[in-house]
Subunit: 368 residues, 2 copies
């Protein structure tokens, strides 16, 4: 009960549009997946997400494991019922969050021991437990536990890191029992092309429902990132969906799509919203700037989102400066709308074989 | 363009139902007015308010004067356009907020000098300026500047305080020019009946569009408050609306309505929501309690609000503990719904001459 279908292949690039079906419904690709870390896309209701055209969200295994606990969520009917979202959910494996804990975690072949960022309590995450948690949550797409290779890193570390990820992928696949839940493999290998190739071959050989590139946007230069994307994405089978984990900026999305990626997730639109950074066609706008204090215009006069239809920059600046809760919500609505519309436009361009023109126009419009 | 009409007088109490018309539309009474201190009812959009049946909101002169400034709001088209709320707005005079500043303010016959709670800057609020600010904001109902008599207080202070409020009321009335904006007078006098009587006679004598009791819920016992309400409300002319400023609890609302009050405002439902305190028919529920950690029930199984229709106590507790922004919104939706439904039921009971039965049932249901 999981399928991916390429519906149109762009004539002049590797971009393609398609559709993924899960037990909780379908979504179109290329897709940007908003992040609902703790079982809530910050400041929004599921109805807000639907009104924005969101078809799939991501939730974090690490956070929900620690609080309120995956077994508790299972007893409450699973994550969909718990958070009142009946569309598809993708859960990460917890690998990236544990990696982000730095000194608080220790990796061994068996798994990762770590201390909770909440209360310092000790935990151990194995590939088997990562799968068990995601099965308990009941997500539609689960991810294998991986080690997110740090940056910068030596060649030797990157090699042993991707080998560990490969070994864990074997164990994840063995542990995975929930037929209606898809399981994706993750390619690592740092910024080393031969290691990315080794990793891709090993992971693809294990036959997953889809494949993700991990370890991107962890501190490397944009050019280096795009080079690795351009090199590695073609190594993944075209009939399976390709997911760029943790990406990213509008530019990352455009570049990734052009290289044949189908899925993206990132906290950027939601986190930036809460910091007063708003996305527009021309670049980003810092709503707290003094120049907006009496500006009667909407954030983007051409934008059709709820926020732009009803509120001025002056009001949004006021809410932000006054730390009003509505600020986070209105800014988040705008930013998610921007990402959803961007991906809708991307799909439209692909379907008309004019993705390269779209990409050119996208960059031309930006003033940054 | 302001009118108040009593539509039904309860047969067994002083409770009455009615309707107030303003240039921005009508609202039914008795009414509870949610507070939008800084030009936003915290965590909610105007559309949320409409869906909850809210017909009028309150905004604070003191806060909007300091930030973003009343003249700025006027240049942006007035408060209604600024905050995207096209229904009636009542503004307070700033008196209560300035009173709350304690050591930061100094009262003289001319007005109040105070320091901003935001940046310590010095300001002077006179009765004339209070009116000017409210005219610039463009509210539908403005309030006279008053001194909110503190509690406890000596008889002599309470007397000179209500006399000051009376003198300021004269000046407010003289300064007020905006014909389409109603102006209400405020009765003070502390907990001294003869002073309340003096104040009521003096203020009513000035002929305002409506009358408010101020200086309640400032630290006095509930019984003392109800005694002053019971004594003073009948001194106000029945053909004008009676407003209990800053009240209150569901009990205060029920008692006030029974004594003939028509309008109430309070931060209680919104502020308590943000502290995880939810109102139910049986009393209040502290959603952060450990006992709700796995409770699949809604806050109130009989409640029809958005929050109760879609979320469990367990999820609401999780959001609260995890400090998720959605927590504040879902809790606020529930609490405002509770207050709106309570007032709707109150009006229904009055219209059927069974307010006293309703009041009895209200108290019987409570478990506190």
């Amino acid at each position: 009960m999981f399928s991916f279908k390429v519906e149109h292949q762009d004539a002049q690039s590797s971009a393609r549009s398609g559709r993924i079906a899960t037990v909780h419904g379908e979504f179109q690709t290329p897709v940007f997946i908003p992040v609902g870390t703790q079982g809530s896309v910050k400041a929004l209701t599921p109805e807000d997400l639907l009104s924005l055209g969101v078809e799939i969200i991501l939730a974090n295994t690490y956070h929900l494991f620690l609080r309120p606990g995956h077994e508790r969520i299972a007893r409450l009917g699973g994550l969909h019922d718990f958070m009142h979202w009946q569309g598809p959910i993708l859960t990460d494996s917890g690998g990236y969050q544990v990696y982000s804990l730095g000194a608080l975690r220790k990796i061994s072949p068996e798994g990762v021991s770590f201390r909770s960022h909440l209360d310092g309590s000790s935990h151990f995450l194995s590939p088997e437990l990562a799968i068990q948690i995601q099965e308990a949550l009941g997500s539609d797409i689960a991810m294998c536990l991986d080690e997110c290779t740090p940056y910068p890193v030596t060649y030797d570390y990157a090699r042993s890191s991707h080998e560990l990820t490969r070994d864990w992928a074997v164990r994840c696949k063995q542990a995975h029992q929930k037929k209606e839940q898809a399981l994706f493999g993750i390619i690592q290998g740092g910024n080393f092309k031969d290691l990315r190739k080794e990793s891709a071959e090993a992971i693809v050989n294990l036959e997953f429902d889809g494949y993700a590139l991990g370890g991107l946007s962890v501190g490397e230069e944009k050019d280096a990132r795009q080079e690795i994307m351009a090199y590695t994405l073609p190594l993944l089978p075209g009939e399976k969906s390709r997911y760029l984990m943790g990406l990213g900026t509008p530019e990352d999305l455009i570049e990734g799509v052009g290289l044949g990626a189908d899925m993206f997730d990132c906290v950027l639109p939601t986190r930036n919203a809460r910091n007063g950074m708003l996305f527009t066609r021309e670049g980003s706008m810092n709503i707290k700037k003094a120049e907006y204090v009496e500006d009667p215009q909407p954030v983007d006069p051409e934008c059709t989102c709820y926020t732009c239809r009803h509120y001025s920059r002056a009001y949004l600046r006021h809410l932000y400066v006054a730390k009003e809760l509505l600020s986070y919500r209105l800014n988040t609505l705008h930013n998610i709308h921007y990402f959803m519309e961007l991906m809708q436009d991307v799909r439209g361009a692909i379907e008309q074989d004019r993705f390269m023109e779209f990409k050119k126009a996208f960059y031309k419009q930006r003033k940054e």
